[in-house]
């Protein structure tokens, strides 16, 4: 049995970053210290800033499994209860007039991940605006960014390759943070005498995620997902050979830029909704116009039925705030918002609005 690299207790996990054995207490402390370092280094959070965290309830979402979303929603609600954060649930029907099931019924099984991804990103933006949040934090971790770098190289997408490693994306209504960008959130546990890859949340019982109550099969309807699986396997192999390779990939992505003779589309505002776009219409508006097969209206209703619970409390000390944020961002795609004296969160789902 290996000993912890910090306190000589018996180790039960191995850190992905450097392969050192660690016990749960030291691992958690080191992990939270890493997240805290990222926040301080990039000056991400300021006092008085409102932070929204996007929560999906699990590692993956797919529109083809109906039950998946209900389980995800239950997990998000349990997280809300555990952390005492306000939860806002927004639906595609509410924002776009279509549920994902209706979209799939209309367009078939092809390209629905495109609709889902584009609409979800817009939904996060809208949700942040509705909560009054200044920042949206997403749960992209080091593996996600490394995979994105490789995918953009394999697809020859130079514009995205330039910006996919940015920790801050400030061209949306609210600044978007990739807090876990340089941190690897999966671990190896010694089980059955060999290293066994496990999800961080499952192993440490931090938060409540979908995987903790059993695995759901992943649907792979699209070629893009097929490509992503191949890249994921390659990234896992790189990491097994050399744990630092993931961070080196990200470092490569950070350090490159396009040569001066390469032309890029010019960023302007969408004619319909005013969001960032390189065309007259942004992607979401274009998709919606196609769905309705008529002229698109920005008819998103700001219904008073939106649920927004605010829990009030005394201001946190700074050190406690930092530690708390460290735990907070461990939730994959968790969504919440923070004011000096209150927290809130919202969850984007495809079902009808549910009153809280």
């Amino acid at each position: 049995m290996a000993r912890c690299w910090q306190c000589d207790a018996s180790a039960c996990v191995k850190r992905s970053k450097d392969g050192k054995p660690a016990c749960i207490v030291c691992f958690t402390e080191a992990f939270e210290a890493e997240v805290h370092d990222v926040i301080k280094t990039y000056g991400l959070f300021g006092r008085g800033k409102k932070v929204a965290v996007g929560a999906s309830g699990g590692k993956d979402s797919t529109v083809l499994i109906h039950g998946y979303r209900d389980h995800s929603l239950k997990a998000v609600k349990r997280n809300r209860n555990d952390y005492g954060l306000p939860l806002v649930i927004m639906t595609y029907k509410q924002l776009y007039g279509w549920t994902m099931d209706e979209i799939v019924a209309a367009i078939g099984a092809r390209n629905n991940c495109t609709f889902c991804g584009v609409f979800r990103r817009r939904a996060l933006d809208r949700g942040a605006a509705e909560c009054g949040a200044d920042i949206v934090a997403t749960g992209h971790n080091a593996d996600d960014i490394a995979e994105t770098v490789l995918l953009n190289v394999l697809r020859g997408d130079l514009a995205r390759l330039q910006r996919c490693t940015d920790i801050i994306t400030d061209k949306f209504a609210a600044t978007t943070l990739n807090l876990l960008r340089g941190i690897q959130t999966h671990i190896y546990s010694w089980r059955y005498g060999e290293a066994f890859l496990a999800s961080l949340q499952i192993f440490l019982k931090i938060g409540d995620v979908l995987g903790s109550e059993g695995c759901l099969p992943r649907a792979k309807p699209l070629k893009y997902i097929f490509e992503k699986d191949i890249v994921i396997k390659y990234v896992k192999e790189l990491e097994r050979l050399q744990p630092r390779a993931i961070l080196d990939l990200i470092k490569s992505g950070e350090a490159i830029c396009a040569r001066s003779d390469v032309s890029f589309p010019k960023l302007t505002a969408c004619e319909k909704c005013g969001c960032m776009s390189s065309q007259k219409l942004c992607k979401a508006c274009l998709l919606l116009q196609g769905l309705f097969m008529s002229e698109y209206h920005l008819g998103v209703r700001k219904s008073s039925r939106n649920a927004f619970n605010v829990s009030c409390g005394a201001p946190f000390p700074i050190v406690l705030f930092s530690c708390f944020v460290g735990k907070l961002v461990e939730m994959t795609y968790a969504l919440c918002s923070y004011v000096c004296t209150s927290f809130g969160s919202f969850y984007v789902d495809y079902e009808q609005l549910i009153d809280l």
């Binding site: 394999l154 050979l241 080196d248 350090a255 830029c257 396009a258 040569r259």
Partner: protein, 361 residues
Amino acid sequence: MSLEMRRCVKCPDMATLCCTDAKKAVYCRPCFTQMVKHKFSSSIGKRRLYKDGEKRETLIVYNGTNSGAFLLSVISQGLRADAHKRLTLVPTVMVLLRETNEGLINNIKNEVELIKECIPCPWIFVHIAAIFDNIISDPRASSDICGIEHTIKVPEWTCLLTSCSSSSVREELEHLCSNMLCVKIAQKLGINKVMLSASADELASKTLSSLALARGPSVFHAANVVDKRCGSVTLIRPLREISEKEIAFMNRFEKSDRYILNIQKDRVKADIGEPSLQSISRDFISNLIMDGFTGTITTILGTANKLQAPATNRSRCMLCASVYEGEKNERYCFSCTSILDEVGDKVLLKQLLDCICVIGQ
């Protein structure tokens, strides 16, 4: 559809050959041969490497591989007096040896003696251990192998490789040292052009493994036809647009597969069976191509062609000659520093780095 139903895109004959993608252009055998040779010629002519009064002396690095054999063959044919559009370079062939076993080295040398007549020019033999030599005598003055006969450096090289912590570090170190050695020999001979035999497949996999080693900013130079990072010496990769599949066909058609040497894949015993970043990158790309993504290599090389380092700090790494951002007292880039940290034998490493520093002067 079957290839036999289609016609050559260049002439009315039936098509029998294609490049990586069977849905794109198809060729008959003579047109295929002509197309591949044209890719070689245009990669040189497009950059005007031997025009406008440029020096024509070129060091051709030959390592006995599939692409090395093809390079010998295409240069040999291009230099013939009756060739259409003659190659106007003055070659010196450098046989780069990496074997650590003396018997194997002698076998390879004997094999090379049999194929020397394909290009009538000076042939020199250089072992990669010559990187440890501070003073290299003129290789053309004798038929001895640099790094072996005059000074026994092979055991030091073997010891250095064995002390690497993984096969990834070993392969990367070998790659860096062979590049530096080519530059070193070229400077010694007063030659300012070095021609390497890297094919498109090799460069694409090199690009991916470079990204995984934090070498993103330098993939442009590492994967392009012309590489001018090493001061007065220019590295040329004329086979950049030609895939291993095309090279294999050409070697068979032109009977140049007799130039392929029986080189050993794994030169240090610790290598056997152990995968490396470089080997899984190669497997990754070949699996993608076999799964039907035939444009993988061209896409990766096309992307690498458009990348560069931001124009901020302009330090140059002593080991890989790439531009990097670093403090004044740092002589190596982040990636090379990581590689060097993984080499266990610090005495030999310092000796190696001291020899390499001489090159920069």
